[in-house]
């Protein structure tokens, strides 16, 4: 699997997700912001990518990544990266 290409998708997708989640975090608190990053923020990421970078999906199709695979892997990676942060937030806040 072309890891470099996947991480490019991961960054571009989460750019939209992160902006939304950080703004939500400032407004509703860190725990909510983090949970939004894993849930509704994913939808924002998806819509943002569809709106501004839709044609780049063809690059990933040509590299052997289906859209479903990409979305699933982004969510799993987000879960892996954010879970420790969530635990810390739950323990110390």
């Amino acid at each position: 699997m072309n890891q470099r290409a996947f991480w490019k998708y991961y960054r571009d997708f989460n750019f939209f997700n992160l902006i939304f989640s950080v703004i939500s975090g400032i407004y509703f608190g860190a725990v909510s912001g983090t949970l939004i990053f894993l849930s509704f923020g994913m939808l924002i990421g998806y819509l943002g990518y569809e709106t501004f970078r839709k044609n780049e999906y063809y690059l990933y199709y040509n590299l052997g990544f289906s859209k479903r695979f990409l979305l699933k892997k982004v969510w799993i990676c987000n879960l892996i990266f954010v879970t420790p942060l969530l635990i810390i937030l739950f323990l110390f806040l």
Binding site: A5, K8, N55, E56, Y57, Y58, L59, Y61, N62, S66
Partner: protein, 223 residues
Amino acid sequence: MKQLEVSKLSHSFGKRQVLNDISFSCKTGEIIGLFGRNGSGKSTLLKAVMGIIRIDAVSLMLDGLKVKTSEVIPKKMTGYLPQDSFLPKELKVRDVIPLIFPEGEGQDRIFYSPGVAAFENKKVSKLSAGQLKYLELLLLAHMPHPFLLLDEPFSMVEPQYIEKIKELLLSLRATKGILVTDHYYRDVLEIADDNFILKKEKLHKVENEEDLATHEYLKVRNQ
């Protein structure tokens, strides 16, 4: 030699049927030209073969073995050149190449391809239409897909690059099967081994400009 067979391809948008029981096959070593007026279903047909849209019905066989449309992308069976660029616009060409070919050998093949040095330091967004299509085709050419689906590779491209693209496609014929659709019909007719036109949901074989005129794709010339 590999063979891709497409059969029973049907699709409709709401009540409007665009493709009805379409069948064709493509072998490595051949270029197939596909014509049709706007809205006739050419892009839909390519996307259906690629497996990126849900379609009413289609049957795919690769070398006689049935393949699900959901397997086309993961198995890297077909590469796809869309009408609009698929490359990230903010990157420079020299950063796009390693993104797609992480290994040095693959990168070298692109960097040392004729003409690439002239624009490798430019951003993708700054390339001319011809440079962009040529680069995208070069990238696709060096990927492992045995088949390529090309949606308008000549459109809006300057003549100098049209010639380069034709040369590239003809050289690719040695290892790949290519399905190309474009309104630049003379260029397609020049390089394709077989040609078809999509008209009223069906695929018809055509051989020359007269046939295209008969099928009302071109205006009939008065004698």
